[in-house]
Structures are given as structure tokens and as C-alpha cells.
């Protein structure tokens, strides 16, 4: 009883700090989401689903301040011709952003929604609500109710260039909530890029609805030695012969919880979700994935690699659910960590739940140290220990990074990882 009361008071305190945007075509979805989050209550450490990650700083009334972050690295994706959209502490920055126009797509802002019917009305909060079962995700419902801005992207053809979302942080106590909705039409294609620490506390939801034969590529880089705390959710539904590929690089960040909830609802669909993370010190990173196969002959891959040092913690919770009738499912899940010292830890909970009888599903999870034999081999050729360790670390991360199809993007991510490893050498 006392626990329930505590949960209620935490939820009330958090919601009291937020204002429910009124009017517009999101009103009904927001009202519904608010009721859901109130009923669920925000998570606490007693929830099984949050067993390995303490959500306190994500749910408490105010954000823990995060010092502003300065580094002299060139902005990621800077060399790529793209439509750049900038949010500073969760607020759209028109001056720093490009015009929201591009061939094959229409981009609007959530905060500028009209009062009338909109294409996103049937999607906003819909995939998030579907994703609440069988596991509750109250932080996502909170987002749907209280999101202050975000982008609505309707992809109608093959987008002529990627859309790139840049999240900047200028206020040490900022507490940003963004909600993006992406609708990929049949045969349409988009690459979405995301980068930057965003805010002291960041709550983001992205809903992606991919019609038959649609293609969506997603590459994001977050953290970058920032003190921020973040909870992000991607909810995706895939039609027949469609493709969803998402890669995330996380380089530090005090607390990061990335959830990805994927439904393969059309035959022959493909969903790949991958992550490479490098963490140092008080870093805590959690990848939580739930993939539902609900159609025939679909393929899913989860490839997560974490490098942890100086007491950092990595978490992976990944599940493949194969519904009855989802025959010829090909599901692959691998989560591995490289622990560079005895103080760091990796907590993994890989799961398969299969109700079809003609499927190929595999999963594996390992934790290990640097291979001393390989290290000696490199050193015997003149490569100093620290550099050799970095080489082997990059090699360990390669399987996840290789999930990025675009070579230029892949190279940028590898460069960024190499730079981080060099900066964080002991």
C-alpha cells in the first residue's frame, strides 16, 4: 500500500510540473495518454521491467542539472547533404534549421499543429498505445500527453536527402519532451539522422509507421560525454516487404534508457535494430527491445555491443515474440559486452517467446575481456598497448556498426568511436 502511494505521489509530482497542451488534432490522444499514465503510474525500481535501471531521476519532479557540454569535435553528419532541423533544449530553433522542405517528403512541426484534421491524427500516440502491451511503458505515455514539440514527417516518395535532427543543450536544468511521427508511404524511403545530447533530461518518443515496401533508415548518435539523462522510445509498425533499420551510438551520458518496440505486421518485412555503446565511469546505459513477429517470412536482427570501463554499467533487455502463424520467422539477437576492468558490469536479459513451429530464432549474450593473445600479437608488431586495445575494441563493436548500410555514415560513426576511445584511454 505504501509502495503504491509512493508511486502515485511521484507521478503526481512529476505531472504537476507539466502543462497539457490544449486544442488541435492531438487533443484526444493527449487526454487518453494522460489518463493512461495516471493509471499506470511512473515506473520505480520495484518494477520488474526496471530491475536493472533505476528510473528515479527520469521520474522525479525536476531534472537533475547537467553541466553544459563543450567539445571541439566537428558536428556529426556535417559532410552529408541533409535537411537540418535543430532543437535547443527541446525548443525548435528556426534560425539554425533549414527550411522544412524536401522532395519526396513533407515536414511539419508538432507545435504548429492546425486545429483541423491532419494525416498524423490517426498515428499520434497510436503506436505508443499499442506498445503498452504486454509491458507498460508509462514514460512513453507521459510523452504522448505532454510533448511540447517534434517533427511530423510524411514520406511520400524516395526522399532526396536525409532529414537530420540536431539536439542541443544550453540550459543546465532543461527538461525536454519531444514526440516525432513518421509515416512512410508504400514504396517511399527516408533516412533519419539524430545527434546531440538534447537537454539535462530528455524524454523522446518516435512513432514510425511504414507501409508496404517502404524503407526507413535511422542512425543516431547520442551522449557524447554529456551528463544528461534520457529515456527514448521508438515504436515501429512494418507493412509487407518493408524495411526498418536503426542504429544508435551512445558515448557516455549518466543515464540512458533506449526502448525500441517493433511490430512486423506484413509478410516479408525486415527489421534490424543495432547499438554500439561506449561507457566510462558513472555511465549507465540500457537497451530494451521488444520485437513482435506477426506475419510470415519476416526477418529481425538485434545486434548490441557495449564497451564498459571504470565502473560503467550496461543493460540489455531484448525479446523476440513470435505470434501463432508467423511461420518462417528469422529472428537473431546478440548482445555482448567488453568489460575493460573488474569494476564494470553488464546485465542482460535475452528472451524468446515462440508460438509458431517453423521458425529460426537465435539469441546469445556474452561478457568478456580483451583477448590477451590478440593484444600481444598487435603489440609484437609495434602497436602500443593503448592503441592495440582501441583497435580490438573497435573490432568488437564492428558487428553492430556494420548494420549501418551507408558507408559515409558508417565511417563517421567509426571515426567518432575511435575519437572517444582515444580521449578515454587510461
Amino acid at each position: 500500500m505504501a509502495e503504491a502511494a509512493l508511486k502515485t505521489s511521484t507521478t503526481e509530482a512529476r505531472l504537476a510540473r507539466l502543462a497539457l497542451p490544449e486544442g488541435g488534432w492531438t487533443a484526444a490522444a493527449r487526454k487518453d495518454a494522460k489518463a493512461r499514465v495516471e493509471a499506470m503510474g511512473l515506473p520505480d525500481r520495484r518494477d520488474e521491467y526496471w530491475k536493472y535501471t533505476h528510473p528515479d531521476t527520469l521520474t522525479q519532479a525536476d531534472a537533475v542539472p547537467a553541466a553544459l557540454f563543450h567539445n571541439d569535435e566537428a558536428p556529426l553528419f556535417g559532410e552529408i547533404d541533409r535537411i537540418r532541423i535543430v532543437f535547443v533544449d527541446g525548443v525548435f530553433d528556426a534560425e539554425a534549421s533549414d527550411d522544412l522542405v524536401g522532395e519526396g517528403l513533407a515536414i511539419e512541426r508538432l507545435a504548429e499543429q492546425s486545429a483541423d484534421i491532419h494525416w498524423a491524427r490517426d498515428l499520434y500516440g497510436a503506436l505508443e498505445a499499442r506498445g503498452q502491451s504486454p509491458v507498460e511503458r508509462p514514460l512513453a505515455a507521459l510523452n504522448t500527453a505532454y510533448a511540447t514539440d517534434g517533427v511530423l514527417i510524411h514520406v511520400t516518395g524516395k526522399a532526396s536527402k536525409p532529414v537530420s535532427l540536431h539536439y542541443q543543450h544550453r540550459d543546465e536544468t532543461s527538461d525536454a519532451i519531444l514526440h516525432h511521427v513518421i509515416k512512410v508511404d508504400a514504396g517511399a524511403e527516408l533516412t533519419l539522422l539524430e545527434t546531440g545530447p538534447a537537454a539535462a533530461r530528455f524524454n523522446k518518443v518516435m512513432e514510425v509507421d511504414i507501409a508496404d515496401t517502404g524503407v526507413f533508415h535511422h542512425v543516431r548518435a547520442q551522449g557524447r560525454d554529456h551528463e544528461r539523462r534520457a529515456a527514448t522510445h521508438i515504436f515501429t509498425r512494418l507493412g509487407s516487404e518493408s524495411t526498418f533499420k536503426s542504429f544508435t551510438l551512445t558515448a557516455n551520458g549518466v543515464l540512458t534508457r533506449n526502448e525500441c518496440i517493433i511490430e512486423l505486421t506484413g509478410d516479408d518485412a525486415i527489421a534490424h535494430v543495432a547499438g554500439a555503446c561506449v561507457g566510462d565511469g558513472d555511465f549507465h546505459h540500457d537497451d530494451t527491445v521488444f520485437i513482435t513477429h506477426d506475419a510470415v517470412n519476416c526477418e529481425s536482427r538485434q545486434v548490441f555491443k557495449k564497451v564498459l570501463r571504470n565502473g560503467a554499467t550496461g543493460v540489455f533487455q531484448g525479446k523476440i515474440l513470435v505470434q501463432p502463424g508467423a511461420q518462417k520467422t528469422d529472428g537473431y539477437q546478440i548482445s555482448q559486452s567488453l568489460l575493460l576492468d573488474d569494476d564494470s558490469q553488464f546485465l542482460a536479459k535475452p528472451e524468446l517467446e515462440i508460438y509458431a513451429d517453423d521458425v529460426a530464432c537465435s539469441h546469445g549474450s556474452t561478457s568478456g575481456a580483451i583477448d590477451e593473445t590478440a593484444l600481444f600479437y598487435l603489440r609484437s608488431r609495434g602497436v602500443p598497448r593503448a592503441q592495440a586495445t582501441d583497435l580490438l575494441t573497435l573490432a568488437f563493436l564492428a558487428e553492430a556498426v556494420d548494420e549501418i548500410e551507408d558507408e559515409a555514415l558508417r565511417e563517421e560513426i567509426v571515426d567518432r568511436l575511435a575519437g572517444w576511445l582515444e580521449r578515454h584511454r587510461k
Binding site: F376, Y377, R379, R381, G382, L391, A398
Partner: protein, 251 residues
């Protein structure tokens, strides 16, 4: 060039003495071969010289051009000019052969205070060496030793040797796992690198490698010591009569 005096080594974990006083002098431009039965300490000698963990030097010294190599980290030994061609080259998934080679070449140059090699110069050099060693360009693009045949792995070792241009090359049972054709190719590579300023220590079980890499001096090692030293004819004697007679003679 390489001067080993009364070198004594034991295995750290087992507290077992492996080398019991090895003495060896290898001059620049000379090829020395060490032969000996299994367990005589040949590979241990190569590992200790290159700085592998797990061995404790309990006595003696090993100097390369007057510098004590036993005091150096493995990478420092490499930069000083020591190279070990491994009996079993390590597979390193995810690290490209070219990336690895360029990193090694430039790390050594940096350690010696030399200018790093540009990407273009490196590419030109590695392609030329690969061609000489009949190494397929595809092999350079693959991860280090991953999926390589035994012969390819050994040729890759010789390619590394050619690119790093060491002063002292140690070949640890380079003939193991090779057919005659592969062995010839590897030997040709080694012979191409022979010059007046470079010394070689070829560790082998069998005489057949020495048909292709003609040694100047042959040593027989047994029970952690060099028990006999002679010319190339000593290898032929082993080939014909085994180690029995020699070991009985020195017992």
C-alpha cells in the same frame, strides 16, 4: 646483433624451468637455425624474446644491438627492430589487414621519431610487397588472418616482416602446417629479405625448411639449452639420424 647470454626462464604459472642457460650470438647478415625435439624450449625462446606474458626471466640477458630487450615492452622491442613470425598467427576479426599493417608501420616509425607514412605511400609499398609475395589483394582487405589458409597466414607474417623491415627476424616453426609449395613461397619471401644488416633466427623441427632457407649456423637445442652448434651439415645429420645420436653424444 642479437646476443643472448645464459638466459634462464621459467613458466610463471607452473614454476617450471624451461630455458636453463641459453647462449647465442647472431651476427648481422647471418641466418641461424635452431632445431630440437618437442619440449626443448625453442618456442619459449621466441616468446621470451618478443615479450609474451607468462614467462619469468630468472637469469641471463638478451641484447639487441647492445640494448637490453628483456627490459622493454613488446611494442618497444618491435620498434627496436625485433620481429617474431608466429607459429600460429592470431586471427583478429573486425580489424582489417591493411589498417593493422599501417597502424603497426606508423606506430614503429613514431616510436623511432621518424615521420609517419602517408596513406598513398603505404598503399604503394604494401601493394608492391604483396605482389612479390604472391599475396592476393583481397587478402589485404580481409580481417587479420581470418579465414586465411595456413599458407596465407604464414605469407601474411612475411608480408608484415617486409613492411616493418626489422633488424632481427625470428621465425617460430614457420614450416608447421605448410605444404611444400606454400613452404617454398614463404622461404622465397624470407630469402628476399636477407641482407647484410639483418639477422635471422629460424626455429624449426625439420630440415626441409632449411632446404629453402640456407642457414649459416645450425644449433641443436635440448632440455632448455643449446647443446650443439655447427654448419648446415648439422641439419642434414638430424634429418638422416634424428636427434638420438646428437643427444647421446652431448649427454
Amino acid at each position: 646483433m642479437l646476443s643472448i647470454k645464459n638466459l634462464q626462464v621459467k613458466l610463471e604459472e607452473e614454476d617450471k624451468e624451461i630455458l636453463k642457460g641459453v647462449d647465442l650470438e647472431i651476427e648481422a647478415g647471418k641466418v641461424h637455425a635452431i632445431m630440437g625435439p618437442n619440449g626443448s624450449g625453442k618456442s619459449t625462446l621466441s616468446y621470451v624474446l618478443s615479450g609474451k606474458d607468462g614467462y619469468e626471466v630468472t637469469g641471463g640477458s638478451a641484447d639487441l644491438e647492445g640494448e637490453d630487450v628483456l627490459d622493454m615492452e613488446p611494442e618497444e622491442r618491435a620498434a627496436a627492430g625485433l620481429f617474431l613470425a608466429f607459429q600460429y598467427p592470431v586471427e583478429i576479426p573486425g580489424v582489417g589487414n591493411m589498417t593493422f599493417l599501417r597502424t603497426a608501420v606508423n606506430a614503429q616509425r613514431k616510436a623511432r621519431g621518424e615521420e609517419e607514412m602517408s596513406a598513398a605511400d603505404f598503399l604503394k609499398a604494401v601493394r608492391a610487397r604483396a605482389k612479390e609475395l604472391k599475396i592476393d589483394a583481397d587478402m589485404l582487405k580481409r580481417p587479420v588472418n581470418v579465414g586465411f589458409s595456413g599458407g596465407e597466414k604464414k605469407r601474411n607474417e612475411i608480408l608484415q616482416m617486409a613492411m616493418l623491415e626489422p633488424k632481427m627476424c625470428i621465425l617460430d616453426e614457420t614450416d608447421s602446417g605448410l605444404d611444400v609449395d606454400a613452404m617454398k613461397l614463404v622461404a622465397e619471401g624470407v630469402n628476399a629479405l636477407r641482407n647484410e644488416g639483418r639477422g635471422f633466427l629460424v626455429i624449426t623441427h625439420y630440415q626441409r625448411l632449411l632446404d629453402h632457407i640456407k642457414p649459416d649456423v645450425v644449433h641443436i637445442m635440448a632440455d632448455g639449452k643449446i647443446v650443439k652448434t655447427g654448419g648446415p651439415e648439422l641439419a642434414l645429420e638430424v634429418e638422416n639420424n634424428g636427434y638420438g645420436n646428437i643427444l647421446a653424444e652431448v649427454a
